[in-house]
């Protein structure tokens, strides 16, 4: 497939936003049961939630560049019964709404403790919103992943690993950014986020490697024989029916060399995993926001490359019909 930049930015940006929100949920729920020190509502939760919202909005804006008729985008909410894309279109604004509510509640300190247990754990209003937000976040990861994983003849995508990777990549990048953010406004949480960010990054290293291995071994079900229905081991296309290009040659081929593909794979494997982990570790040791932030930036750039590769690697069966001018 041809990697479309709008979709690359959409999926990576909302991933960061979702990751930040999961980090906030984790932080707040740990502190509700007093496993972590409580943080300042406005400076920490409020501001971080606004950052998450910023990433989600950025992703939404990027997605509009993919549409031919963005002014009709509202229609895309109508087919939630059958279409994962439609479900994603519904869940994304719900999540944005919840993050927004969460952000302003913290910002203005509109919170109240609804329940306190004997052990001292507190259930506050914002935690309920955060819990709802957490479920929506996972729902959004599932929708985003399923948009690709549900297309069964794109065999590289048609695997649960697609959803797992989307979830873990987004979460990892959000947690790394939160590590940097915590270093400035909630230093007690820095190690907590940093360690989780490392664990998630290592986990996604395993799952992404698994999908790379899986994809390297794929045997494509469609062949030129099934495509035109002729049983002969030697079939060559002599003409695809037109001399110039068409949407079929532009949208479905990556138009790069095999060497470039391999390079991209190694670039993302290095930028997403070892480099950010190193920077993260160094940043945590030295309490340097710059290093922690660099870890996020490097990983984000790596994720752009990863998403590019994700699209480019998928081999659409229609390509069988467009082998030669």
């Amino acid at each position: 497939m041809h990697p479309a930049f709008s979709v690359i930015f959409l999926t990576t940006l909302i991933g960061v936003g979702q990751g930040i929100f999961l980090a906030l949920f984790t932080g707040q729920s740990y502190s509700a049961v007093e496993l972590l020190p409580t943080q300042d509502s406005t400076r920490f939760y409020g501001n971080a939630a606004f950052i998450a919202l910023g990433f989600l909005i950025g992703g939404l804006i990027a997605s509009f560049f993919h549409l031919g008729h963005p002014e009709r985008a509202w229609r895309a909410a109508s087919q939630w019964r059958t279409s994962w894309l439609s479900r994603e279109v519904i869940v994304l604004p719900i999540m944005m709404g919840l993050v927004f509510i969460y952000a302003i509640m913290h910002h203005f300190g509109w919170d109240s403790v609804l329940l306190t247990t004997d052990t001292g754990a507190q259930l506050s209003l914002t935690l309920i919103i955060a819990t709802l937000g957490m479920f929506t976040t996972f729902a959004l990861f599932i929708c985003t992943g399923m948009v690709y994983a549900c297309l069964k003849f794109l065999q590289e995508w048609h695997t649960p690993l697609t959803i797992i990777n989307y979830t873990l990549f987004g979460t990892a990048s959000g947690f790394i950014l939160m590590t940097a953010f915590a270093n400035t406004s909630a230093p007690d949480l820095m190690n907590f986020y940093g360690i989780w960010a490392s664990i998630i990054t290592l986990a996604v290293f395993v799952t992404r490697s698994a999908s790379l291995i899986r994809n390297a071994q794929i045997k494509h079900k469609s062949t030129i024989q099934t495509a035109i229905g002729v049983r002969h081991s030697r079939i060559q296309q002599k003409s695809m029916g037109f001399m110039g290009g068409s949407v079929n040659t532009r949208d479905f081929f990556h138009h790069v060399s095999l060497i470039f593909m391999t390079k991209m794979k190694w670039i993302f494997m290095v930028l997403v995993f070892p480099v950010p982990l190193m920077l993260l570790w160094m940043g945590m040791e030295t309490h340097s926001t710059a290093l922690l932030f660099a870890a996020f930036v490097v990983q984000y750039v790596g994720l752009l490359a990863e998403r590019w590769f994700f699209f480019a690697q998928a081999n659409h069966p229609q390509n069988l019909y467009y082998q030669t001018v």
Partner: protein, 243 residues
């Protein structure tokens, strides 16, 4: 239930592209708006087509066979392109099984074209909506046309009658009979899309002549040792009258 469809006879298609041009001509002038065409006579021509004719070579030189292969939307019975559409712009008509795109609802997200394994949906890069074969839905029901012309433009244009049109759900329709009797098949059956359009395979006509068939064993003339006519150098009646 009705399921309108095409049957394409690869045995007679000569790859002349008459269906491609007549399709474009009819549909670009239709009420649904033009189909884009950029640099039609320039260096990199590109544009939207509902139907393309491709050419394949089967076998290895010199034992090759050329196959001309027209391809348009197959109007699948279980179309993967329809459920993925987030807006409902892509739909399958209940009454005749034609798959259509509502150009007023389509947001041009291209997702349906990813979901069609056959690569027959092409986004119109000017109007920014998804386009595909409509089976000439705006002509097959048009009662102002003579009945014989209420067929898709490609079917009417085909000089070799390689394209047949009809209802594949009616077991007695001409195309159902043809599919049954001539070995009609579907493309990429592995995805369970159940295309309605079928293709008829190339068929070879073979004749075997055995050695003994070259000589008639029971030739009555031979039996009586009498030649079929006078020797070739003997004067004929014509010769004698011309003296």
């Amino acid at each position: 239930m009705t399921q309108l469809a095409l049957v394409i006879d690869l045995n007679v298609c000569v790859g002349c592209h008459a269906c491609v041009t007549s399709c474009k001509e009819w549909n670009t002038s239709g009420p649904a708006g033009s189909m884009c065409d950029d640099n039609p006579y320039g260096k990199d021509p590109t544009g939207t087509f509902f139907n393309r004719v491709q050419t394949y070579e089967i076998g290895e030189f010199p034992n090759t066979e050329t196959l001309h292969f027209p391809k348009s939307c197959l109007h699948c019975e279980d179309p993967p392109c329809v459920p993925v559409c987030p807006t409902g712009a892509s739909y399958k008509r209940k009454e005749d099984g034609i798959i259509l795109v509502d150009y007023d609802k389509c947001i041009g997200c291209r997702y349906c074209s990813w979901a069609c394994p056959y690569g027959v949906r092409e986004i119109d890069e000017h109007l920014k909506v998804m386009k595909k074969c409509t089976l000439c839905v705006d002509r097959i029901y048009d009662e102002t046309l003579p009945e014989a012309e209420r067929k898709p433009a490609c079917v009417l244009a085909c000089p070799t009658s390689a394209r047949l049109f009809g209802d594949v759900h009616d077991p007695e329709s001409a195309i159902s009979v043809t599919i049954r009797e001539e070995g009609g098949y579907q493309l990429m059956p592995e995805w369970g899309t159940h295309p309605s359009n079928h293709y008829l395979p190339r068929r070879k006509t073979h004749q075997h002549i055995h050695e003994d068939e070259l000589q008639r064993a029971d030739n009555p003339l031979k039996k009586e040792q009498r030649g079929p006519s006078t020797p070739i150098d003997a004067p004929t009646l014509d010769d004698s009258t011309s003296w």
